[in-house]
Symmetry: C2
Subunit: 175 residues, 2 copies
């Protein structure tokens, strides 16, 4: 079963990025091309013929599966990046972190009116950056087709923050 | 021809990230899944059966083609990340930028002794980060199978900085 394989591959790293946090390290998945291929095949099956026009990946781990999935589905991939990285005309959104704020950006020509966009990232924690990405896409006239993650940390209740944007919040592995 | 298609897709953005720089924006390639697939097919043909054990991608645009190429070649993908992002045991390398320094990191268990590693990034400019990645991999006991880029800016002579690590420096498009 894919779920078990992914769970076995993910490495728990205690006290990262700070004491008391048990970090879910997905890099062993990248070291395993067969498992990576299985994940992509599963994602392609899940999202094919679901009326998704584009995939938006959140920098930088959201690029890892987001872009190859978009290529397989034959749809455009949008880069949601941290402030100052995208060179062309762009829209920005500042959102709150636990301490301070962060800003994400997207090229304005990445979204057309009514585009149904799937937002992808590697991990759903509190949902701050995914919710910010959804707001940015909606501000540009797009619609949220759903949220997709490799890993979802249910106890942080990010799904409650995302539910107003789309009822479709999917992950391969839930903790 | 693939070269012409990629050149047509790349967008020149003047004065980014600062006045006088003509930035090569590759994000229109990500918006074009057919072209993206063609690029991956070409890279797969170029590197299949060349004795490459692993691909190392430089955060974050090096993840875009680096990881799907590794999956297609059936080999592990190593993430070379900016300081503070990788959670597990890691080695670091500080290198000089035009002003100041930057530090990249890699998980120490990503490299085995004698691994032949292809280093991939989207663009070769002065070669600072690719040379730093090569040093990091060599320090960990790996060998440099080559450098691969989407775009190479010949006039910045990054190839001269990389040549001591490997004679194989390839790009789809050279300016």
């Amino acid at each position: 079963m894919l779920v078990e394989k992914v769970m076995q591959a993910i490495r728990d790293v205690p006290d990262f990025p700070k004491p008391g946090i048990l970090f879910k390290d997905i890099t062993p998945i990248m070291m395993n091309p067969q498992l990576s291929e299985e994940i992509l095949v599963a994602l392609e099956e899940k999202y094919r013929n679901k009326g998704i026009d584009k995939i938006a990946g959140i920098e930088s781990r959201g690029f890892l599966f987001g872009y190859p999935l978009a290529i397989r589905l034959g749809i455009p991939f949008i880069l949601i990046r941290k402030q100052g990285k995208l060179p062309y005309n762009k829209s920005s959104l500042e959102y709150d972190l636990e301490y301070g704020t962060s800003t994400i950006e997207m090229h304005t020509d990445a979204i057309g009116a009514g585009d149904r966009v799937l937002i992808h990232d590697d991990l759903l924690a509190t949902g701050g950056s995914a919710a910010a990405a959804a707001q940015l896409i909606k501000q540009s006239g797009g619609e949220i087709a759903g949220f997709d993650f490799l890993v979802q940390l249910d106890f942080l209740q990010g799904q409650e923050k995302l539910a107003p944007y789309s009822p479709s919040i999917q992950a391969i592995v839930n903790y």
